[in-house]
């Protein structure tokens, strides 16, 4: 079940969706990040944004140090993409429209809306997020009819899902044994 994937959301120009090889490569990096975080007793979520075969954003949860509950890994990574565009003096929208997010856990409702607002077309993720998921687990913001909230995006879900779940479980075990579990996304 760890390698099962599913698609939904917006239709894209054919050819844009990442290849199996790209998914394997970039998700491997995302999982390495998550493992690293786990070893450092941080939320084990790996998240990176890839444009034109290069990483233009790489986030980890920064909620505690900023005291801002919205600083999820994806929000941090999106800010890095914008910063990268500013630095290279390129139009953020044209970059974002060709940028893929690879993340080990389904983005939450807030992050899914942020991804829409920036017109990110594809999100590849591992396991579902039963508590906050914005790509179908709680709400499906990724595919909803929201004409004033950017663009709907396509999800490739379930890649190495079981592994992502195991890491989160390991994290809960060391941090809070009573915390509820995420789900290995497969519906």
């Amino acid at each position: 079940m760890g390698t099962e994937t599913e698609m939904n959301g917006a239709d894209l120009k054919p050819g844009f969706c990442p290849t199996d090889g790209e998914i394997e490569k970039w998700m491997a990096s995302a999982f390495d990040m998550a493992k690293d975080a786990l070893e450092n007793r941080e939320v084990p979520v790996g998240c990176l944004m890839v444009y034109n075969n290069q990483v233009v954003g790489k986030g980890r949860n920064e909620v505690n140090e900023t005291k801002n509950a919205t600083r999820h890994a994806e929000m941090v990574a999106l800010d890095q993409v914008l910063e990268w565009c500013r630095h290279d003096d390129v139009d953020p929208q044209s970059v974002c429209m060709r940028t893929v997010l690879y993340v080990t856990v389904e983005p939450c409702i807030m992050c899914a809306a942020a991804l829409r607002l920036l017109h990110i077309p594809v999100v590849v993720y591992g396991c579902g997020n039963e508590r906050f998921g914005g790509c179908g687990s709680v709400l499906d913001v990724s595919a909803a009819q929201l004409p004033h909230t950017g663009t709907a995006f396509k999800c490739v879900a379930g890649y190495r899902a079981q592994e992502a779940v195991e890491m989160l479980k390991a994290f809960y075990k060391q941090e809070n044994p009573n915390a509820p579990k995420p789900k290995a996304r497969k519906d």
Binding site: V43, N64, T66, K67, A69, M110, A114, L117, L146
Partner: protein, 359 residues
Amino acid sequence: MEPQSKRRKEAESDNADSWVALPVLSDQQSQDTELIPAVAAPITDKKETSRLIKELRSLYPLTGLTHIKRVRSHKLADGLYSPQVLVCLVSDAPDVDLHSESLAIESLLPPDIVGLEGLGLPFLVKIPAFPPLTRPQFQLASKHWPTTFHEDKQVTVALRGELFGGPQKARMQGYMEAALAAARAAAGLGSGQEPVGAAMVDPKEERILAVGHDCRGGNPLHHAVMVCIDLVARGQGGGAYSFEKYPACTAAMSPTSSHSIPAAETSKTTARVVEEGQPYICTGYDLYVTREPCVMCAMALVHSRIGRVFYGTASADGALGTKYKIHAQKDLNHRFDVFEGVLSQQCKDLYGLKDPIKH
């Protein structure tokens, strides 16, 4: 709108009678009465009433409809009242032709279980499928068939627009005026800012903690609500955004910050679950925002554990009433009250300030 009436409305801005804050209730609390078909019959001999109820209950218990009263007193054409009893749901009697001229009561009620003495000819009715949650729902439901009603008095008062008294309304108006001023400052900046403002308030101390406006010209995700949340974090020694270019975005540096966030809650070792290991920095605070937040901002308020949200006017993709009711979403771990309408006209008028150059 006519400029004349617009000016008049603006002149009323210091008058707290010009607006009313109404609660944005969950779908279950605001939906129309759903009805299901049932069979009822008049009770022609009142002395038989309690026996009939008992026997009907054992035959057709109406499971899951505990809010439905078994007997109603029905007003007849001659002005007199006559009792009627609910026999069963139409779905309880699948084999009976309920649309025939005269319902064959024997086919519904086997004589060995229910004695027919005192029971008149059965007829079809519609009864409310769910218990009413608000007084308006109760009143609508009662037109069809009487139900029980466990009234939430606060919701009733809020729906009448009477939850907030005079002095409280004056304070609320002051907070929204701060948000309006920030929105106008954003409009004045041009360069892609939307005319939206927000103010975070500690209602216990009656103090504004932060005032922010939309800064999406600098970062498309810096909506007024996100800005306000970051300003509160900044006021507590955190924060992630840069406000150099936005003098109208301000945070009160709180001398009580060490009290308002227990140190333990900000320490990394208390991180609880993914995307939840966070200081609940807006716990107990009120947010005033000129227009209904989008999905991102609404969920940001859930993550920040906001106390209540007051917005001036609805927005097309709004997530606290229009497209979603994230504050009442069943599966989320934090819910909060939302009110719409504080200085609604002034908030609507902000749309007129919108930057004509769409970025």
